[in-house]
Subunit: 74 residues, 2 copies
């Protein structure tokens, strides 16, 4: 089984309330020049490389509002 890292991010143009909230919090804490904060998911798993695309579409991401990409490391 391969070690796989999956990155799931909100699609561009889709609201990212979590990112906005963290950005506002960083500004409040004095980190004024932080911008474009986007928050997604990072998933590590061991599994079959030939099924990962299917798993990403079916359960690891919501393809309507999220993009995903993955890296096979071993």
């Amino acid at each position: 089984m391969a070690k796989i890292k999956v990155y799931v991010t909100p699609k561009h143009g889709v609201l990212d309330p979590q990112g906005k909230t963290v950005e506002a919090a960083l500004h409040t804490m004095g980190y004024k020049n932080v911008s474009n904060v986007h928050i997604g998911k990072y998933i590590e798993l061991e599994g079959p490389e030939n099924k990962i695309d299917e798993m990403c579409k079916k359960i690891l991401s919501n393809p309507i509002i999220e993009d995903y990409r993955y890296e096979v490391t071993e």
Copy 2:
């Protein structure tokens, strides 16, 4: 300002209920040979490189239960 990618993962030995749930769901859906599912956060932002470590400790991660690492890309 640099473009920075931050990866936040549950520490080894800390319970990862989200990972366990997704692993169980994958098994239920027929992906039997998936294991070691761990779920963390993936954060993209633009900001000052010299402050990123501080931001990770103070707000982007919970250092008691999570590890973080980051990459500066530009």
